[in-house]
Amino acid sequence: MQERDEGSTVTGKLLSMKEAIGRYVEDGMSVAIEGFTAFICFAAGHEIIRQGRRDLTLIRMTPDLLYDQMVAAGVAGKLVFSYLGNPGVGPLHCLRRAVEKQIPRPLEIEEYSHYGMVARYLAGATGLPFFPLRSYTGSDMPGVNPGIKTVRSPYGGEEIAVVPPLRPDLAILHAQRADREGNTQLWGLVGAQKEVAFAAHKVIVVAEEIVDAEVIRSDPNRTLIPGLIVDAVVHEPYGAHPSYAQGYYDRDNDFYLFWDRLSRDEEATVAWLEEWVHGVDDRAAYVLKLGAGTLERLQPEKAEAAEVDYGRYR
C-alpha cells in the first residue's frame, strides 16, 4: 500500500498553537477543552486569551483553574459544566465572582452531573437524540435545567432521565503522543477525551510528543482518537501545566494552592494574567519562565508497563 508522505503539505495538520487557535477559534463559538484533572490544555486556553476571543461558550465537566482563568480574562459568555471546584483545594474564586457578582461580566451557566455531561457527549458522539441515565430522581437539578428531562421506557414503562446531545463547535484535547495525522494515544485518566473528540465538529489535538505513525501502529489498543476526526495537531511539551500528563510530569499542586490564595483578589488575578499569559509569547516562553527547577520538581520516577505482544500475522 502506498504510504502518504507524513508531515507534507498534503495534510498540513501540524500547526503552532498560535496558528491552530487563530484558524479554529472564533468569537461566540462553543469550545470544550476537556481532561479530567489530567491533560487540561492550559496552553490552548492561554492562547485563546491572548488572541482576545469573546463570548465563548466554555464546556468542561470540571472547569478547573483553566476556565477560572479564562472567565477572569473575559473570554466567556456561558459555562456548561458538572463540578465547579479547584480539585482537592477548594472553590474557584473567579468563577464564583462571575456567578455571584457578575465580575468581570455576567456568566450564563448550564449544569449537569458528571454522568449527565458524559451522557451528553456520548449522545453527541454517537448520533443519538438523547442519552438515558439513572440520575436526577429526587434532585432539584432538573428544576433549574430544562435540558434534563425524563422519558418513559417503551419496554415496561419505567421513567428514566435523559439528557440532550452536546456537540461542541471545537474540542481541544491534550495527550501524551500523536502522529502528524492526529492519531492520538493517551494513557492514565482518559476521562471523556474520546467521547468529546467524536462529539465535536472540529478537533485540535495537543501532544507532548509527535511520533511516527509506526509508534502508534505498534500499540493500536492505545489509540483513543483517530486522525480521521482531527483537524489540527499541535506539538506542545508541558502544554497541560499546571495540570499533568501521566508519566511526563506531575500536577503542580503548589500552583493550585497558590491560585487559591491569589485568585481571591481580582486585581492580583488580572496582574497574574498580564504576567503569565499576555506577558509571554507562547507556551515555550511560559515553560522557560517556569524554570528548570519547577520542571525537575514535577518529574515522576519511571513506572513502565509490562510489554504486550500483538504478534505478527503474515
Binding site: 463540578y83 480539585p87 482537592g88 483545594v89 472553590p91 458528571h114 456520548l122 430522581t137 432539584d140 419505567e158
Partner: protein, 267 residues
C-alpha cells in the same frame, strides 16, 4: 504531632468512617478525610477493599496521599483505569459499588445533601461546586456513608437545594421512586455518629465520640434531634489506627488539620 497525643476530632472522624467500612469490598472514595478513611479501612477492617474514584480508577493503590480524586498516583499500580462513562455506566449503574463516602455543605434530617448553592439558585449567596458525580452516586450506590463536620450551618432543617437525594421525605420515598441504592446509612462527624434506622428513615444519634455530651450535639443541629435508646460511646482509636494515620497515611497532617473544613462550605 506526638504519637501519644490524644485523637483529634478529625482523627475520630477518620477512624469512625474507616470502621464503618468493615468487611466492605467496593467503595467510592472522595478526597481528604474520605480518602484517608478508606485507605485506613483497607489496612485494618476491610483488607479486600477496592478503592474506586470517579476519575475512572478501579482498585487504586496510591503510594502517596492523593491530592485530588484525579491524582496520577491513583493511576500507577491500579487494577484498572477506564473512561469516566464506563465508570458511571458499568461500575456504578451496574450496581457493583457497595458504599460511597459523600459529604456536602448542607444536610437535612433525611440525609438529603446540598453541594450546589446557598441561597437562591439564580442569585446565590454562595455558589458551591455542584453535583460532580454525587447525584448519581447517591441514587445508585448500595449505601451512603456521609462524612461531615457537625455545625448548625450544615445540619439544617431544610437544605437550600437538593443536589443529591438522601431519603427525600423519608418513609420509603426512595423505594417508591425506584432508586437502586438504599441511600444514607451512616453519618460520621467530628463529634458523633448517626444512623437512619427509624421507620421514617430520619437521622438518629447513635454514638458520641469520647468527651462529647448530647447537648453539645443538639445545639449544632437545626432540628429536634432523635436520640437512640441505646446511645453509645464511640470507642477510642487504637494505637495502631493512630499510628497508621499519623505516620503512613497523612504524615504531613495536611488533611487532619481542624481548619480543613468541608471544602466550599459557606463562610
Amino acid at each position: 504531632m506526638n504519637e501519644d497525643s490524644p485523637a483529634t476530632p478529625s482523627e475520630m472522624m477518620i477512624v469512625s468512617a474507616a470502621r464503618a467500612l468493615a468487611g466492605v469490598r467496593t467503595v467510592f472514595v472522595g478526597v481528604g478525610l474520605s480518602n484517608i478513611a478508606c485507605n485506613l479501612a483497607r489496612l485494618t477492617v476491610a483488607t479486600d477493599l477496592e478503592l474506586i474514584y470517579e476519575s475512572g480508577v478501579y482498585g487504586a493503590r496510591p503510594s502517596r496521599l492523593p491530592l485530588s480524586i484525579g491524582d496520577p498516583t491513583l493511576v500507577s499500580g491500579a487494577t484498572a483505569v477506564i473512561p469516566i462513562g464506563d465508570l458511571f455506566g458499568f461500575y456504578l449503574q451496574r450496581g457493583i459499588i457497595e458504599t460511597a463516602l459523600v459529604g456536602g455543605a448542607q444536610i437535612d434530617r433525611y440525609g438529603n445533601l446540598n453541594t450546589t448553592v446557598i441561597g437562591d439558585y439564580h442569585s446565590p449567596k454562595v455558589r458551591l461546586p455542584g453535583s460532580g458525580g454525587a447525584c448519581e452516586i447517591a441514587i445508585n450506590c448500595g449505601r451512603l456513608l456521609i462524612l461531615m463536620r457537625l455545625s448548625r450551618r450544615s445540619f439544617v432543617e431544610r437544605v437550600d437545594f437538593v443536589t443529591s437525594p438522601g431519603h427525600l421525605g423519608g418513609k420509603g420515598e426512595r423505594e417508591r421512586l425506584g432508586m437502586p441504592g438504599k441511600g444514607p446509612d451512616v453519618v460520621v462527624t467530628d463529634m458523633a455518629t448517626f444512623d437512619f434506622d427509624t421507620p421514617e428513615h430520619e437521622m438518629r444519634l447513635v454514638s458520641l465520640h469520647p468527651g462529647v455530651a448530647v447537648d453539645e450535639v443538639r445545639e449544632r443541629i437545626g432540628w429536634d434531634l432523635r436520640v437512640a435508646d441505646s446511645l453509645g460511646r464511640t470507642p477510642e482509636p487504637s494505637a495502631e489506627e493512630i499510628r497508621l494515620i499519623r505516620e503512613e497515611l497523612d504524615p504531613g497532617g495536611i488533611y487532619r488539620r481542624e481548619s480543613a473544613e468541608a471544602k466550599g462550605a459557606p463562610k
